[in-house]
Symmetry: C2
Subunit: 147 residues, 2 copies
DNA sequence: CAAAAATAGATTGTGCGCAACTAGGTTGCT
DNA sequence: AGCAACCTAGTTGCGCACAATCTATTTTTG
């Protein structure tokens, strides 16, 4: 029996990953106006968040945290440095390693950023329960797709 | 009382959107090897899927389907045209409108693409139930973030 | 200890996403 | 008819993501 149109695997409305992809894009768009006051992109904001939490970190460690490599991070870190938010030093023990740390200006930004997650929560119009389910689903998929 | 470190809003592990963002990136990486045989990127594959389903569509309609605008779609459609997969015609009724349709080569690709969703399902290592929850969560967020 | 292997990060090139803007066509209003 | 308002698509410029490749340094190993 020939596969009918409605039972095909190739229908947009059936695609889980497309829903994920579209939601992720929409999320980025929703963050944008909240981050313009900080003059940060979403990824820059995430990297700053890691630094607010850990103070200092090399590129490798940072990459592990945010699941990205130097191809993405190096130019981004240069831009953050150009904005005066971070310092990109070399390790004394291992000259290959870049040690990323916050500048005073970068540290100070943290207070202004505190409200961003709350505003985003509000924009989502979802309950904590719904968001927790979404987060756990995403983390499960992420874990399963590793290597 | 001062907010303690662990109760801050700005901890990476608390970020729902970061989980979504990371899962979406991981999804794109997982699709890549499945799509190299078709010589398509993920978004190109999605656009082809829309065309396999609807045969013909203008840029506006396509944009509504995939939640993207001409700034993203125009260059992508030019690349698909350059590969010989689609035809970008002008509407006779309204000269502003581009009518996108499948070439024979583009139509034929559908058979080769049929297995891709199955392979991806396997890669996810998740049950249909888990994936349905993920899909519905993403669709809810996407809907709530619209304008 | 010298050559080989491994590692950290930087670089290059392609393709998105998206905001802002432009060009050109259509519609509506008087 | 004339023209303003609107609409569709295209263009530009920036910042990711990512594979592939490169450089410089460190570690391992014969």
């Amino acid at each position: 029996m020939k596969t009918t149109e409605t039972s095909s695997n190739l229908l947009l409305d059936k695609q889980i990953c497309f829903a994920l992809y579209s939601a992720s894009n929409a999320m980025g768009r929703a963050y944008r106006p909240l981050l313009t006051t900080l003059d940060l992109t979403y990824l820059q904001y995430i990297v700053m968040m890691v630094l607010w939490q850990y103070s200092t970190m090399n590129v490798k460690e940072l990459g592990n945290k945010v699941h990205l490599d130097s191809g993405t991070l190096t130019p981004l870190l240069k831009r953050l440095e150009a904005k005066g938010l971070i310092i990109r030093a070399r390790s004394k023990e291992d000259e290959r390693v870049r040690i990323i740390s916050l500048s005073d200006q970068g540290s100070e930004m943290r207070d202004k950023a505190e409200q961003v997650p709350t505003e985003m929560l509000c924009k989502s119009k979802m309950t904590i329960e719904e968001l927790t389910i979404l987060k756990q689903s995403c983390e499960l998929l992420l874990e399963n797709l590793k290597e």
